[in-house]
């Protein structure tokens, strides 16, 4: 098999090929490393590639398999992750200058991927301290979109999105506090799951806003998202916010029939000022769901504008608290935009922050009562505008910053506030050839229904099979 064919496999296909001894882990790792080294100069997606360590790990994986030891469902599959997950004794940059020089422990999500047999070969570019939705980074350089390197990748999991899209890794952990998995999934044309708050442990992951942070993968297919989430989800004593309920078999859920499921199309908020090409792609995706037997109905939404504002205050206040000491003692280590946003958070009144948290349970009950009493999932755009260039959105910490960032996260942030799971799936392309994503929001802990719908959609379409030329 040629290298391009190997890197073009999905995560599930690569794992199967290794498991069935059709490919060695070393061969898959060599092809992945070659691809990573080829695309990195164009996309600036890696912060570090651990070539020798990765090849050693692949050799060990092959030895294990040769003596009959299959580590797990991801045995031998190469992955790189957003550089905010601890690996004991190894630096984590957090996309800037304030990460630890030596991580004190290994993140639970990485331990679980290790246990499932995945092989980490590097760490990925990201927005500085995961506090930026565009992919700009003034420390490591801006990350570039595999479909057009002049355009945004989205963030904060920018390297995760563009490296997976470019076939330089089979899956990548991202994190989603206000849209940071779904946005790069949309802009880069991948799948990505923001799980329910509490579904995946954040232990050993850089905290940004502990009330809203979630950990999840970006992948090329929905099946791969289900596979990776199944490996990392579940209770963890190291993160008391994790939920004790049993993790469903997400791969089995992919086979569930979608005929009869009811999909909601929001009447308010999500389509305000939406670009016609994006609206058309979303409408076409609904037509695909109808052909698959799902029912589509229009639904009224509660006050998302207020929830978006409340979420914005929680992120602002918590991020400012996490980095308050850094702002006081080493402000020069933050880029102007991140520093300005952190300072902004220090002006949020305590009562407003607490009211934002108090409103959250009320909002979730209202959302579930008014929406999920009528539909199984809510279907919506991820972003309402066409993918801009890196240059035209390079506003730094200047006066245009708040409006631009608010526009980018407007449709994703409420999902974090509610804490519900949200799956981003590519729904088409614009005339300019840039990917368009849709997001499916579900009931708390019902990732399985989202996977069933997303997988059925990819079975009926081929957007996810198209590869960028970069």
């Amino acid at each position: 098999m040629k290298d391009a064919d190997i890197t073009g496999l999905s995560c599930a296909e690569a794992a199967r090929a290794i498991r069935e001894r059709k490919l060695t882990a070393v061969k898959v790792m060599e092809a992945t490393l070659a691809r990573a080294e080829a695309v990195h100069p164009k996309l600036n997606c890696f912060i570090r590639i651990d070539k020798d360590l990765a090849l050693d790990a692949a050799r060990l994986a092959d030895k294990d398999l040769a003596r009959g030891h299959l580590r797990g469902p991801l045995h031998g599959v190469p992955m790189a992750h957003k550089d905010m997950y601890y690996r004991k004794g190894v630096p984590a940059s957090y996309g800037g200058k304030v990460g630890p020089a030596q991580a004190p422990s290994t993140a639970t999500a990485l331990e679980r991927l290790d246990g499932a047999g995945a092989l980490q070969f590097g760490v990925l570019n990201m927005a500085e301290i995961a506090f930026g939705p565009t992919g700009h980074n003034y420390h490591f350089g801006h990350c570039r979109n595999a479909w057009d390197p002049a355009r945004l990748t989205g963030g904060s999991s920018s390297g995760s999105g563009t490296s997976v899209a470019a076939r330089a890794g089979y899956a990548a952990l991202g994190s989603d506090t206000g849209g940071s998995i779904r946005l790069p999934a949309h802009f880069c044309g991948t799948s990505g799951i923001k799980p329910t708050y509490g579904r995946v442990s954040r232990a050993g992951a850089m905290p940004l806003s502990f009330s809203l942070d979630t950990v999840g993968p970006l992948t090329r297919t929905v099946e791969d998202s289900a596979l990776v989430l199944g490996a990392i989800a579940g209770a963890d004593q190291r993160d008391p916010t994790t939920d004790p309920r049993v993790v469903p078999d997400y791969l089995a859920a992919l086979k569930r029939p979608v005929a009869g499921l009811v999909i909601g199309r929001p009447r308010q908020y999500f389509y305000d000022g939406c670009d016609p090409e994006i609206a058309a792609a979303l409408e076409a995706s609904l037509e695909t769901f109808r052909k698959l037997g799902a029912k589509v109905i229009d639904v009224d939404l509660p006050d998302f504008e207020a929830w978006n504002a409340a979420a914005t205050m929680i992120i602002g206040a918590e991020a400012a608290a996490m980095h308050g000491n850094g702002l006081r003692t080493r402000p020069q280590d933050y880029s102007p935009q991140v520093r300005a946003r952190l300072e902004q958070g220090m002006a949020i009144p305590a009562a407003a922050y607490i009211d934002s948290l108090r409103l959250r349970g009320v909002a979730l009950n209202q959302f579930c009562n008014e929406v999920f009493s009528k539909v199984d999932v809510l279907h919506a755009p991820v972003v309402a505008f066409q993918t801009p260039t890196i240059e035209e959105t390079d506003v730094g910490g200047g006066p245009k910053m708040s409006a631009l960032l608010a526009q980018v996260t407007r449709l994703t942030r409420p999902g974090n506030y509610l804490g519900v799971p949200a799956l981003s799936v590519q729904a088409g392309f614009t005339k300019a050839g840039m990917p368009v994503g849709m997001q499916l929001l579900g009931r708390p802990f019902d990732e399985a229904t989202l996977f069933a719908l997303g997988h059925a959609f990819q079975g009926a379409t081929d957007f996810h099979r198209k590869a960028p030329s970069a």
Binding site: A347, A352, R360, C368
Partner: protein
Amino acid sequence: MSQSAITPEAAAALLAAQGVSAPEGADGYARFVTLQLGNSAKAFARLAFEEEPSGYTGALKANAR
């Protein structure tokens, strides 16, 4: 700026009191906070006296599939 808005001077003083060096963007910070408070004020006004942040975890479990 309306009378009900947070002033740049107030935002600057808040930050300075927390030990953060005199912010250049106090005007923007004041506008940002005023906007968010305004957008959420009606929702906050409807909050029951007894509501507390821990209610969220209960809502998450109560609405789980």
